[in-house]
């Protein structure tokens, strides 16, 4: 497979590279690629640096371990420090996490935008202010509902369960151009129907002259007299070794590495926020998976996962959905091993996995620890743990209502439950927080926007307080959790903040 013009990978580079440009963007995910496309459209000379590799649509298969190795940071095996551990995954490839996420595209809830405005004084963030950016994001990424023939039976069962319980449910909105329903979202969409950054904003920016350097790790943001002046880094050789150096001088430095890597890079560069909030306020929408066994065939991998969301409990901070896991991932989280695991997995095609997405309270922190690198600390608050347990219970209830015969809960040592009555009896006793198997794919809030430099890391438009020329453009900016899939918020904010940069291009020198 050839590499598109404008992309340079480590294999293409024989010696150190020095560049100068208008804007250098660190990261090519939802925030970075959107910034690149917007700025390139405005005629800015853009260089994008991506730590991960370039993996085109044609290389995506259903081999989930291969995907974990090539498309995710650290094989998708991030772990927070704290009790319980939270497993988290970050995309690391051209296109970032949008290549490996489920593709849910929802506008930021109005009450969340209002809260950000009220609590942090964030400007121009009302529903009306954001409307044109949401509309533009949805147009670029073909956001819409699934074609009915692509919906999997696992999602239909969750829908039936919700209907039996009388709970409200909505069809999921995705960035997809007639999704085929391959159910391969987490390993890269093999048809390109998922309109990730890899197939939208990245080629859009490249077509306008942007240059993208893949396999390149940025070590530092450089500064001169307090202002950001570029970045330095190195190309990563296969196996992780250091290759040639890359030095970029730029009028504007835009950091979009995600809510873990962005604060880590900024702190590594010696940048401090007067607010003391850089790296703090991490929210991660904790998830936990319920595994339900049915008598009849489900074959949940026939058709797209998460076709619906149960919204009945959204006011409580809970969204429930069915998220079919491929066999390697399901086996990894099953509370069994050996012969018993083999017996459970033999029923793979009768399984529905589902779970809650929980609004949390920003209790995490990202820190660089000498000798250990970037570490993520997260304390599951009691109220959030209780919400997570309730979400698990509600999910299990819906699955029983849909006809599940047996349900495995994500609590260490919990026996399988075979009826709603058993479920109630089991959960009548408190579930120890440390026993909950928690994971996350939504990481937010570690460089929050606030008009007050003593409260936030950036201003209302992502400009780092006190460091001219430095802008943040990812979910780090969120002053709190969105309570909903965050990708569209990241894209819309990047569009809005790019517009601001363009309006102030004389000030930035781009």
């Amino acid at each position: 497979m050839s590499i598109p013009s404008g992309i340079t990978t480590a294999a293409d580079v024989g010696g150190d590279v020095r560049l100068e440009c208008g804007a250098v963007i660190v990261g090519s995910g939802a925030g970075g690629a959107t910034m690149a496309a917007e700025l390139a459209e405005a005629g800015v000379d853009v260089v994008v640096i991506e730590e991960g590799g370039y993996h085109p649509t044609g290389s995506f298969t259903a081999e989930s371990a291969r995907a974990l190795r090539t498309l995710y940071r650290d094989g998708g095996g991030g772990l927070t420090v704290g009790r319980p551990w939270v497993m988290f995954a970050e995309g690391r490839c051209v296109g970032g996490s949008t290549v490996v996420n489920g593709g849910m595209s929802w506008r930021t809830p109005v009450q969340v935008l209002d809260r950000w405005s009220a609590q942090e004084g964030v400007r121009a963030i009302t529903e009306q202010d954001m409307e044109p950016y949401f509309a533009r994001a949805e147009a670029r990424h073909s956001v819409g509902l699934q074609d009915p023939e692509t919906i999997g039976r696992d999602s239909e069962l969750l829908k039936a369960g919700a209907a039996a319980k009388g709970w409200s449910l909505v069809p999921n909105r995705r960035n997809q151009l007639h999704c085929a329903g391959t159910n391969n979202c987490l390993s890269g969409c093999p048809t390109g129907a998922k309109r990730s950054m890899l197939v939208t904003s990245v080629p859009h920016a490249l077509a306008l002259g942007a240059r993208l350097f893949a396999d390149c790790r940025v070590e530092r943001v450089t500064r001169d007299r307090g202002a950001a002046t570029g970045v330095t880094g190195y190309f990563v050789r296969p196996g992780g070794g250091r290759g040639p150096r890359l030095t970029v001088r730029a009028a504007a430095v835009i950091v979009a590495g995600g809510a873990i890597q962005t604060p880590a890079l900024l702190a590594r560069s010696g940048l401090r926020s007067a607010s003391g909030q850089l790296g703090r306020n991490l929210s991660l929408h904790p998830n936990a998976n319920v595994t339900a066994f049915f008598d009849s065939d489900v074959t949940g991998w026939h058709g797209v996962h998460q076709a619906f969301q149960i919204r009945e409990f959204m006011a409580e901070g809970l969204i429930l959905t069915a998220d079919n896991l491929p066999p390697p991932m399901l086996a990894a989280v099953m509370p069994a091993y050996g012969r018993e695991l083999g017996e459970l997995m033999a029923d793979y095609n009768r399984v529905v996995t589902a779970g809650p997405l929980v609004t949390d309270s920003g209790a995490g922190r990202v820190r660089n620890i000498p000798g250990l690198g970037t570490q993520v600390f997260y304390r599951l608050a009691d109220a959030v743990a209780a919400r997570l347990v309730r979400g698990v219970e509600l999910t299990a209830e819906a699955l029983f209502a849909a006809g599940a015969r047996r349900v495995l809960l994500p609590f260490d040592g919990a026996p399988a439950v075979r009826s709603p009555g058993e479920l109630r009896d089991l959960l009548a006793r408190p579930v120890p927080k440390r026993s909950i198997q928690v994971y996350s794919i939504h990481l937010m809030g570690t460089a929050r926007m606030s008009e007050g430099p003593r409260r936030g890391v950036t201003d209302s438009y992502g400009a780092f307080h006190g460091v001219p020329g430095l802008v943040v453009a990812d979910a780090s900016l969120f002053p709190g959790p969105t309570g909903i899939n965050p990708m569209e918020t990241v894209i819309a904010l990047a569009m809005r903040n790019a517009q601001r940069l363009i309006e102030q291009r004389d000030r930035y020198g781009i």
């Binding site: 293409d12 370039y54 991998w301 990894a332 050996g338 250990l372």
Partner: protein, 186 residues
């Protein structure tokens, strides 16, 4: 396209423990069908994708698991790799049924190893999971049903121009020690 991570060979010691651990935590089909080496090969590939600290921690965890068996009453002072099947299984069960850090670590090791087992295509087919033909079929159906709309949508991505009112660009490329290659489209 970027090359994938390279294989990170296990040390002989860690390999022995991992092999024995896999024999206990993977379904019996692994040994019965001589799949252990393929599971270990997957495991080594996966190891290459981990952060160096995680890789080191994983190796240390396996060594600790091996030596920790000496403290387990039924092992009579033997290491995990020296235990017979029954004792090895009982040891792992004892670790997994504890609450706290040790159980969590062993669960994680188990998750890692069984993930490699269920990545094997033969194992996937045995449980009725064979996605490649399905993906091919629905991909065809998609193009047959919506081909023109899809092609138009894809073409729109790159048929863009710099906004007419925006012409200024930033700095030019300074110098480049390495060669930059460019090819065709994806």
């Amino acid at each position: 396209m970027t090359a994938g991570p390279t294989i990170t060979p296990l040390s002989a010691r860690v390999r022995r423990v991992t092999r024995r651990f896999a024999e206990v935590v993977c379904p019996p089909g692994m040994r019965a069908h001589h799949r252990t080496d393929r599971v270990l090969a997957e495991f080594e590939l996966m190891l290459g994708a981990l952060a160096p600290t995680a890789r080191k921690a994983l190796g240390m965890a396996f060594v600790a698991l091996d030596q920790g068996a000496r403290l387990y009453p039924r092992s009579r002072g033997r290491r995990f790799t020296r235990l017979d099947d029954q004792a090895a299984e009982a040891y792992i069960r004892a670790l997994l049924t504890r609450r706290g850090l040790v159980a969590r670590v062993v669960q994680r090791l188990k998750g890692f190893v069984v993930m490699c087992y269920y990545e094997l295509p033969t194992v996937q087919r045995e449980i009725g999971y064979d996605p490649a033909p399905y993906i091919a079929a629905v991909s065809r159906r998609r193009l047959e049903s919506y081909g023109p709309e899809i092609r138009a949508g894809e073409a729109a991505v790159t048929s863009v121009k710099v906004r007419p009112d925006q012409s200024r660009r930033g700095g030019e490329q300074m110098s480049k020690g390495g060669e930059q290659l460019g090819g065709g489209g994806e």
